[in-house]
Symmetry: C2
Subunit: 253 residues, 2 copies
Amino acid sequence: MSNRPLILISNDDGVQAQGIRELTRMMCRLGDVIVVAPDGPRSAASCCISPLTTIIIRLLKQEDGLTVYQCSGTPTDCVKLALDGLLTRKPDLMVSGINHGDNASISIHYSGTVGAALEACMKQVPAIAFSLKTKSQQCNFLPFEELIIQTARYALENGLPQDVLLNVNFPEVEALKGTKVCRMSRGRWMKEMEKEKEGAYHLTGYFQNLEPDAEDTDYWALEHGYAAITPIQLDMTASAWLEELKGSFVVRG
Amino acid sequence: MSNRPLILISNDDGVQAQGIRELTRMMCRLGDVIVVAPDGPRSAASCCISPLTTIIIRLLKQEDGLTVYQCSGTPTDCVKLALDGLLTRKPDLMVSGINHGDNASISIHYSGTVGAALEACMKQVPAIAFSLKTKSQQCNFLPFEELIIQTARYALENGLPQDVLLNVNFPEVEALKGTKVCRMSRGRWMKEMEKEKEGAYHLTGYFQNLEPDAEDTDYWALEHGYAAITPIQLDMTASAWLEELKGSFVVRG
């Protein structure tokens, strides 16, 4: 068995996407790599899983230090399958992406890229989601390589806090201005349904940042040429509101 | 136009499920109701959306104070469609469920019931997700009716804090011991993949509560006969860890 770290990779754009191929190349600098990724695009898969269908995997590549599987399921299925079905030991790190399209602000709730990383985090594997704010399927990921390596190495050497993962977004630039550690921006999607004909619609719309001047947010960083690193947590409890709410529901049901 | 409150309902078990039919009957006590729900089961749909397909809706019922649509999309698609395509005014309340199966602890990340409520919350509509800890498709929801009415009335009269929704879970009992306002329990799903044959798996597994003695958690409430009301928030930033992380990434990228 290799003494190198074991790194699991998945994404939501599918195993053939440029982003995951670049991320795989980068991670091979740091350890032994296993890729388990969907067999086609699963954008906006969130943490969706497939309880009702058989999940099919196929080995695409097995060479020294690199194993690649494609999977018929969602990104979350891929991570569950890797951790519960394929691997004989827990990975030292899980990375997801590099997504073609940002996953900042509330878009993390829809993101299969973040969903895959959340799943690894739930299983106590340090996890990082990487996304590039682009609309293109062919991108230049090289300007981000050293930060990706540095972030991955940080997680490998230090681990991450319990139930916390890193969500990293890049602006589409030739050279980053720098890196901001930041919180999720408030935002919303607007005009999301376009009518095709009576009874038939398709998704569309645009994102509106509700805090365009907040320099401590992920969206501000992206719009100003910085990489955004946001720690996100599994616990969604609105803790600040617990006590107030307790006063309202002193009831016997 | 009616002066009664307008209440939007969705779920992830599909428009024909007993839980949404019961919830619809209950909400008709409080206001005019529009149901937009999937045309079949979408369990574990999370916040998944359908950007690549046409979404088809069909009007099933239109009578005084009650309109029912079925939709080919996910629970989140249903809510987007209702708010952006079908309704001419913003609802006063959105309720989701009643789900057949609990959505406590980390299971909220997979839940289409919670996903639908998150979507309404993102659109500034007060939202509540209701779930019953059961494995049955035929359940007795009557023991929870008064708490459901009370919770919905609370949200109608007071609203909910910005970017916060309520996640309500019931134990399968004939009479609730009471109601607990509580946080998400830490937990994990175990042994989730069962091999059918070489290269073919299906999801299975069981939930393990990692804090069985923590009386302030949703899972403790459920296991002791109480309804669990957990406020959850859109912002997943791990705020407690922001400052520590800032020291680690003072880099130029």
